[in-house]
Symmetry: C2
Subunit: 423 residues, 2 copies
């Protein structure tokens, strides 16, 4: 999408790859220091060696410090940090640990609808039961506790709900959860003995004024020992999102709170089967959690590049919302965070009929027509789940602003033609 | 273990990581060309972007060409190549596709004993049935077709055997299968309608005179269309072994032959859940399958480094066998290939009793004592499986020759003291 990699990240990883560059004085000193520290913590000082299954220790320490800083000093234990092959790997691994049973004792996993399809795919693969709770579109996709209660109570008739997943900021819905909602969710999980999985991979991607990212970990500990000593929580982060966007490196981590020590032993065993996460991805994570500090040679450039990416994304989030709000028949909540808009679209009855004749869902029909006629590729809402009778699509805000303007206007014209054609 | 990375591999991956190095003329031109080609095949010319789930197309083409060259011109189709996160990921993914059923219809997976524990772990995780066939220790760990027949026939009473796994060169057993055995195994798989999984990650690690690596793919095609059009075969390779030893990059591939097109669709779906294999690992694989050619600036250095690693390993394989053969009570087959010796050791009855009192298997008891008293870490045979009443351990041949000599002699003295102590 044209987003340039952060120079400092790539410098450190390049040196780790080819340590001859440690002597290259065109590379800044702080990059060389970071690389040397990582290499000193690798077997044979090489990122080609296997690491511990849990990840390189000094990087887990960096992650823990990073979490402490993020959460205003609430302690984080490197032993609770597990590095992973992107967040997906960690999420699937957690589900593997939690899922069991057959028939009506099968594990129920509560997921938001709309959801990121990794969840539905992993739940299906593990033969668990998907328990949908609907986000409140009329309230900017907020999580509603009454809806959680409804979903849980209905699910208890046919499965054993044990896990509650939440995505904050939301994918594909882009909402940022308020501190109050997070507190309510934690209280609900505590009352109902649910394992909380908090997908927080978009924690750096918050754009809307008045919105702020609150980690589940922080809120949990602020609620006091009654909660922080009992609620089981997994939180996920990734190098693929934020300002770094280093998806190809497949780096990430999870922090596990209040995990039963016996379960931890099984987790380590499970992780050791796949040996270790890619070490270059671990190195990227190491840079992100131990970035240049004021006074270091790379600090200003790093901050400038980081701010540039995040400012551009914020601009595009506003632009997207603005254009969509101006199109009759389209309703789009503010893109408070993450990287997507998820507008609701009205689809005329004749288009719904036309979709049926070709065996497509109406939103898929719309998206295919859009692709065929404009070359714009968006993902139909049915891929994420949506309330019956409503139609959406997910569109990324990643294209450069000038390009995004063109895309949005082309989409606008197309939608107008489409609705006229099928009216 | 002190094995130095191959310079050319790291140069190419460093340039892919930090493309400013494309202008660095201290890096050889062929490395820059390889990196540029890989980058041109990445989204936004960045290895930070997701790739296709199946892997970067130009690297799949390189892999296919590499296989063709290896197999004397037998064609390989890039569409049959799937890049993976190390070989382990590809092996587990294949098993996921093949395993189904409940009760006595559960899928049986035939694996050699001794085996690499990835297989037993994945089979357990997927709730399949492990069907053991024993390698013939008295015949240098050869695979015996009669034993395959026995194992299959016994398994049919309680499960549905569908998969036959083979590891060549063997891990932990180090044998290199003869062409004749491979042909027999393929014929057996064809007769019994078994899906063949050929773990060939040690294909570059063949040391013994008179031994040669024959790929299952090559033998299959040489047996003619009756076999090559029907037998379903998956073959695995990795960047973690061979002369490269780049385990930390988690790169690998599988080639799938005669896969049902409908199953292929499901495979792609399954792979897309985990997005893509780490791109730096894909790049390492790209270098290995498209190495410097005669006349290119890096050719001589590359060949020299490659030969050095393989010659050292061959020397250590011989040294290991030689020292172990001189120890009464230890029997060690020749290390024909791979990276391990797997000697059988006699354990005195009193040591077996002592092991029982501490709740350990006798080989684990031996290995723990060895570790405690000498600092040498070897893996007990019970971790890999062995015929009842026999005891083994796996020891890597990776340490530098001088160090390995010291280790082997220390192990020798320890074994003598151990047997005296418990006699």
């Amino acid at each position: 999408m044209g987003q340039k990699p952060i120079t400092f990240i790539r410098q450190v990883v390049a040196i780790c790859t080819y340590p001859n560059l440690l002597c290259d004085h065109t590379v800044p000193e702080d990059a060389r220091q970071r690389a040397e520290r990582i290499l000193n913590n690798c077997g044979g000082k090489s990122i080609g060696a296997y690491t511990a299954s849990q990840g390189i220790e000094c990087i887990r320490q960096d992650v823990a410090k990073y979490i402490e800083t993020r959460d205003g000093g609430i302690p984080s234990d490197p032993n609770n940090i597990f590095l992973s092959t992107g967040a997906s790997d960690a999420i699937v691994t957690t589900l593997k640990l939690l899922v069991s049973g057959e028939g009506s004792s099968r594990t129920g996993v509560m997921i938001p609808i709309p959801q990121y399809p990794l969840y539905s795919a992993a739940i299906a693969e593990l033969n668990a039961v998907q328990v949908n709770y609907y986000l409140d579109e009329d309230n900017c996709w907020a999580l509603n506790i009454e809806e959680l209660r409804r979903a849980l109570s209905e699910a208890r008739s046919h499965c054993h709900p044990k896990v509650l997943c939440t995505i904050n900021p939301g994918n594909p819905t882009g909402q940022v959860q308020s501190r109050q909602v997070i507190e309510d969710v934690i209280r609900f999980a505590a009352e109902e003995s649910l394992f909380l999985m908090a997908d927080e991979v978009y924690q750096d991607n918050v754009y809307a004024e008045g919105c702020e990212f609150h980690s589940f970990k922080k809120v949990l500990f602020e609620m006091g020992p009654q909660y922080s000593n009992t609620v089981e929580l997994a939180s996920y982060h990734s190098v693929s999102k934020g300002y770094m966007g280093e998806c190809g490196y497949r780096g990430g981590y999870m922090e596990l709170i209040n995990l039963d020590p016996d379960v931890r032993v099984q987790l380590i065993k499970l992780l050791s089967v796949r040996l270790c996460p890619p070490v270059s991805g671990q190195a990227v994570l190491g840079v992100i959690t131990n970035p240049p500090q004021p006074g270091e040679p790379s600090y200003e450039k790093f901050i400038k590049e980081k701010k540039h990416v995040l400012n551009c994304l914020a601009e595009r989030a506003r632009l997207t919302e603005q254009v969509f709000s101006g199109i009759p028949g389209i309703h789009c909540n503010p893109v408070q965070g993450a990287m997507y808009s998820f507008p609701r679209i009205e689809i005329p009855p004749k288009a719904i009929e036309a979709a049926q004749t070709v065996g497509q869902t109406p939103d898929m029909f719309f998206c295919m027509k859009l692709l065929e006629e404009t070359g714009i590729c968006v993902v139909p809402g049915s891929g994420f789940g949506q309330r019956e009778g409503t139609y959406h699509f997910r569109m990324t805000i990643l294209p450069k602003t000038e390009k995004l303007k063109i895309l949005l206007n082309r989409l606008k014209s197309f939608y107008q033609t489409f609705t006229e054609q099928y009216s």
